[in-house]
Structures are given as C-alpha cells and as structure tokens.
Symmetry: C4
Subunit: 257 residues, 4 copies
C-alpha cells in the first residue's frame, strides 16, 4: 500500500469546479455542513481514498457493521445562480502523522487539480470558549486579498495574526497557494467537544452566500435541536468517563487487540 | 530489513481456509483462545514474521533465555464437523506505529490471501468495566449483514455505533473488506489488565459454535483458576509499582540500554 | 513531494560566502537578529524551501491572509570591512520530526555547499532563567579551537560540558563538521517565552564584531521597547490560557479541522 | 543521508571476534565498562557510524567544542588467556525512534558480521531500586541455554520471565539470534539516574571472567569514588531543576533553535 490510494469510481467532466474540503475536525462543523450539501443536492461520489497514515482502526456502525477509515470525493454540477461545479472532500478521518497530512493532502490536490479547480474552500470549526455560544460567528482566512475581501463582504469575520490553521483545512490552502490556486477557510465558532449543528448551519449560510446558492437548512435545524439535547447527555457521559478513569485506565477502555 | 519479513517454514495446501487473527491485546483474550486452539489441535507453524515496526526489544523468558518479538502463522486441516482448514495468526506483539500496523497487516493479508482464504475472524478483548465480571459477554462486529447475522445466531452481542476497533483486529477486517473478503470480530469482555482466561473461554465457546467444532476447554479452566489466584497477586504488584514510582520513575525501572 | 523542495529564485555568484542559520527557536533570538540584517542590508531572497516535515498547518497573518510554513535563503554581497558574502537561512519553522531535522538540514547544506561556503554561523537563544535579564550574555560553541578562540576574543562566553544544541543550530554545525566546514553557534541569553529583541541585539553586536561589519540596531532597540511592553501582556495571556485550560482542553483550543 | 552511514577508517583482519555492544543506557553502566576496556587495552577505532535516527542535536564538550552524535567501532586483538579478538561498539547515543533502532542495529550487525563474529555480548544497566546499592548484582540473559549456563557459572544472576530488554542491548541479541549468532546480555544493577562506575566495575569483573582476561579496574575505582561524590551534587541539581520547572518550563530550558 502506497501513502495514498485513490480509487476512481466514475470518470466525470467538470467545468472549473470549486474544491471544498470538509474533513472531520473541531466540532465536526465543516463535515456536518458538507454532508448536508451532499444530502440536499444529492451529490455523486466519484472517488474513494484510503491511506496507511489514517488511524489504524475500523469504526463500528449500526447493527455491528464495521466501516473503514476513508476520505471520499463527491461532485455536483450547476449549483446555484452561477451554475457552479463543486468537488467536495469528506470522510471519517484525517491523517494521524504530520508528514501523512502533507502527503495525503498533496496527493488529493494533485488528483483534483486534473479537473482544473478554480478555487478552494476549506471548512472547519474554531474553538473560542468552552461554553456553547448563542449565535456562532463564522471566522475566515484567505490566500490573498481578493478572497479575503469576498469573505468580508459576506460578513465573515477575518482572523488576523492569529495562530495557525492546523490539518487539512490549512494545508489545502497552503499547498494550493504554492501552485497558484487561491481560496479561503471558513471556520464556525464552536466549543468543539460535541458535534455542533448550529455552528455548521452558520457556516453553511455564509458558504451559500459566497457561492450564490440556496440551501434548505431545515434538517440541520433538526439536528441542531438534537444536538442541544445531546449536550446534556454528552456532559453526563464525560463525567462518567472521568469517574471510570479514576477506577481504571480510561485510555484503554475501548482498545481492542 | 524491509517493513515485514515473512519466513515460510513449510509449503502447504489448504482448502479455502478461514483466517483467524489473535495477536496480543486487551486482556490477551484473543491470544489465549488462539493459543489454546493451537495446543489442543496440535496446529503446525508454517511461517514466522518479523518487522522493524515491532517494539525494539527482546523478551526474557524462563531461565534467562531471550525471545524476539514475532508474529507467526499456524495451520490446521479438517477441523470440526465442516472439515474446515484454518490459518491462525498469533505472536507476542503488534506493530508499535500506526503506519506499521497498516503495512504489516497488509503484507500478512497479502500472504494469506494466496491460500484463498474464505473468511476472517479476529479475536480480541473488550473492556467494559475495571472489575472482573462473572460471566463475560462476547461482543461482535462484522463486515456485512450476513456475518453479523451469524454472530447474532451464536448469541454474540453485536456492538452498535460504538467507537472503533483499534489495531490488528480492526485492520484485518477493514483491509479484507476492501478486497471483498468478509469476516467478523469476536471480543471477550474483560477488565483488560490481567491475562483473562475466563473471557478467553467464553470467546472460544462462541468461536467453536460459529465454526462448528468441539474443543476441550478444561485446560483453559485450569488457567482460569490460576488467573483468579493471579489477580490478587497482580493487584499487589501494581500497588508495589505505584509505591516504587513515587520513590523514583517507574517508567524507566526496566529500561536497559 | 520529496522530503525537501528547494525552489531557486535567482542564480547568483557568491565569493566563498559565510552561511548563517537563524531559524525560529528559543525566544526567536536568532531569527530576530537575522531578520534585522536582512532588512538593514536589504538582502535578496534567492531560494524558498518547503518540506512535509514542517508542521502540517498554515499561519494566519494580518488581515486574514494565510502563509505557508517555509524556510528561505537570502544573500548579501560585500558586507563590512572584509567584503564578506553571506547566505542567510531564515523562516517561520523548523522540521517537526527528529529525522526530518536531519534530512532538511542535510539537503539545505548540500545546496549551500555548492556556493563554496567558507564558514557556518548558527544563531539561537539560550534559556538560563525564567526571568528576563538586564544585559543578556551571548554564549557560544564552535566546531574547532580556532573558531572557539575567535568567539572568546569577541567576548562570547564559551559553554563547556553543557548539554546539547538541539535542532538546526546544532545540526548545521555537526553536519558541516563532518564535511570539513567549520563554524560557531551564537546563543543570546533569553527567558525564551517571548520574542526577545534585547537578546537579539546582544547577539547581533557579537556577530557584527566577528564578521567585522557595522549595523544600525536602532530599530531593534525600538522592537526591544515594544517587547518590554509585550511581556506584561504575554504574561497576562498565558494566565488566561491556563484559566481556559482548566475549563476545557487548552491543547485543542486552536485546532481547526 | 541514508538510514545509517558507516565510515570505515581502517581495513582490519580479525579472527572470529566477539562483538560487544555498550551504547549509552541506564546508568551508562555498559558504556563505562566498555570505555574502560578501550582505554586500558588501547583499542583502535576502525569505523564511525552516523544516522538521521540519532537525536537531532550536537553536544557541547570541553571549552565549547561541539561533538556530533555518533556510534563507533573499536577492535582489539589477542585479548586475555584465550587470545580473543574483540569488536566493541560504543558511542554517545542510540536511535531515537523504534524503527531507527531496528534499522541501525541491523546495519551495524550486517557490517560486523563480515568479520565472522563468533558471539555477542551486550552490556547495560538494570534499575532495581532508586537507592544506590552496596554491592551491585550483575544480571544476565542469553540467546540459548549454553550461553545462559556460562553466565550462571560466572555468578551472573539470570533473569527469568522478567520483562523486556529494550534498545540496542536487546536488539543485537535478537537480531543475532535470527541469523544464528548467539550471545548474552550483562546488566549491572544501578539506580540509573547517575553515571554508575561501581555497577560498571561489577559488570566488568563478570565480563573479564567470561572472556578470561585480566583488567586493572583501579581507574574505575577512582571514577567510582568521584561518582559517589557526584551523587550528592546530582541530587542537589535535580532539586534545582524541579524548582526551576515550577517557575518556568524545564523541558525547554536547554532547547536552542
């Protein structure tokens, strides 16, 4: 197995698509937003990506069925007023090692560059405080002033001299910049320790403004409601875990050899 | 030295064997069960596996004799009512690094795939509580519904939306799934911090049902008795270690340059 | 992407240049000093360096514009009384992994060796106490007695049997030594936890003596004044971070996926 | 730079030499013993070894002169009653990464195997208690019963079912065993946190019995005396470090960029 395996499921012609990265991260904000676009617009999966730099595990889903760690690429045609084509990168993981991050992002960018991508958006979350906020802000950064200006016009709050953007959301912009493809990062404000549908909705609204499409966020609203109910539960579970770890070793509790 | 060295000790013809993985992990449950099958059915070792991704050490066994870190493959022919052939992977370690886990599992799977394996079982432990339980449950997960159904019929409790299966027990199923070989994971409930013969016996009973063979678990019963006596001793040793580590640095106590 | 990418921006002829390394480290002392030389003498950038061993992230600069992690090489001709040519290595990062450090330093040294470098200076900081000091000492070490003697003559305090010099500042000297290129390390005394312009100025004065050039440190003085004001602020921020991390998990606060 | 660079300084003919490994580890017991043999018998260095898996740093020695991280090989001819030839591996470091340990040991073993080595001794320390002991025991382990028997005859206390031997002292035996070269590990009992000349002397006496040579340990006695005086000083320094680290971050105190 090489560093990255990209299995192409469908050959597709796209017209200068916009590349959107939304791998899991802080509060799963970007992933939730992108998954919602994929569901609402019925996007088509055209490539699956595996890598030995992903965590060495599988995930147990419903009814005991296991799932591999993966990234995958979806496409959409003629989205919104501007008839934009989109390539969306989602998945259940990012590379574990720093060098793995570089290699996998580089190889995915090589692959999507063949479709003559015109711009990059990376979607993520940003933790500002451990307490859930009422109206999550959407923060942004860009590879050049033109893109930063577009963010400002959409009411995205530009970060400034403000640390790093770590992982795929940072690397795709940086690696794109080095080959002359510009783009932006959108980051929904989130406490980060639960799956944050409200932050994802805030981010999605900004993205739809920037790309000039309309999207029904009703189901995200539903998820947001569920999420609110989950918070109390999650806080309870966290407390349980802490209690357990005082009795044994919490790190190992779910390790299976 | 490449990533994985597989030294074949015997050329063997097997009839669509079932591949059973049982490397050390939580409570050594899978390893104990597989070692017992190897002993009871007098399985034949046919390959030894070494890797620079294993921990950089040797183990001191009885009478000061050292042993390398290794994995090894045994085979059995015509087991049980269904005359099944088995390949069993055991050893004293797993890879230390995440990428090592992928590479070694991939290369072992490449090797055993040449024998046209029909199915994969991975055996492990699952920690549910730090206290030893009376009648350990056997948990399971599978790569598809057909295998999940077989687990349910055997009284294995399916996990659901329930975190990951980390290490070789997860990866062999995931990597198998990607090449169309299906399988299941059996996990004996265990506190995880001692070698758990009772959990191994519970797991072995389910495996023998699933593969339709009979196995005498008397010696495992003996080991379970020994284990019960070891628990008190182990807890004492753990306490001693904690006491020692307050005086010095327990992490380093056994390091030898 | 290979381990190191060196993009040459300008072909240049240099006369046995001195190679100066000043990547970020303790108190950013070396980096500040080198950046000041580059500004004051208007050095020319002639190569950019990227590596997958750098941290997998980008940095958000002013007005939300992102910047890649990079190293870069500047040159200067006819500096000071001795008309020295200089190659200066600066950047915003060092390699994250130990092996990455070796590979990147080796490849940069291979590259600059083509210019027949005559000597190496590596610039860094050295933490002696957590409190800021009034007149920071400049410590030094060298690859041979001749260079150590020059340091002593310039009033640099030689370290002796005194631990290691970790990272690029150590490796360039060690790797140079192995191929017969000698050199020295200059380390400005610094508490290390803020950008220390006073220590950089002390270091710069020693370097200018050693290389026999004059440099206006007025702007560094200004920065030193700013830095003094920043200390109080930084200490406040650190306190805030500690407070935050008691409420949540500070490690994750700036992680963005 | 490849994983390991072995620079041969002298072509030498040796008669089935014994290979002795004594890289730094617990209490520097093995290294002290081997350095003493090299000094007393005036051994000749014939190869230098560097690796990017060593720590990415240099060491500051006397008068501010820096030294690379290295391993090196010495040879001795016609030692003791049995006119044994010896190859001795010493140095100031071991590989930092687990895989680096395997690769470097493998490549060194490949190299010394060309001299038809007959046996391997690895020398190290073993921590049994944090307090210095009066008459340090020498513990041992071996690759087979014949060698274990020799250890017992020399009054070396065999370890049994007793954890691992981590690092070069374990790996050389394990890798040797895999290619049919047998050997033993000698481990001097030591608290491990200071350079332990008394433990080194105990180890050296056992090694001289096993290899049938006489060695003057007077200078080691001197060093042992110095060491005893150093203990009090070291304990004071440790206390100072703890105090310092409460004020700042002790981990970073010696980091230099």
């Amino acid at each position: 197995m090489k560093t990255t395996e990209i299995n192409v499921l469908e050959e597709v012609n796209l017209d200068n698509p916009i590349f959107i990265e939304a791998l899991p991260g802080m509060g799963h904000v970007g992933k939730l937003a992108a998954d919602h676009i994929i569901d609402e617009f019925d996007a088509t999966k055209f490539a699956e990506i595996h890598s030995p730099t992903f965590p060495p595990q599988v995930i147990v889903k419903e009814e005991g069925i296991i799932e591999n760690m993966f990234n995958e690429l979806y496409y959409l045609k003629d989205v919104g007023e501007d008839n934009l084509d989109l390539i969306i990168l989602v998945g259940n993981t990012q590379s574990l090692s720093p060098e793995g991050q570089y290699f996998v992002c580089q190889e995915i960018l090589d692959f999507v560059s063949e479709y003559d991508i015109s711009r990059i958006f990376t979607l993520g979350g940003m933790a500002t405080s451990p307490q859930p906020v009422e109206n999550p802000t959407v923060f942004g950064a860009a590879t050049n002033e033109a893109n930063a200006e577009l963010l400002k016009e959409a009411g995205v709050e530009l970060r400034s001299n403000d640390g790093g953007i770590v992982g795929a959301s940072g690397l795709f912009l940086g690696l794109g910049l080095r080959r002359g493809i510009h783009g932006s990062c959108l980051m929904g404000e989130t406490p980060g320790y639960f799956i944050d549908a409200e932050s994802a909705e805030a981010l999605l609204i900004k993205l739809s403004q920037l790309l000039n499409f309309e999207i029904n966020t009703e189901k995200l609203d539903e998820r947001a409601e569920e999420t609110r109910q989950m918070i109390a539960k999650a806080q309870q579970m966290e407390q349980d875990l802490i209690n357990k770890s005082n009795a044994g070793n919490a790190d190992d509790l779910r390790y299976i050899g």
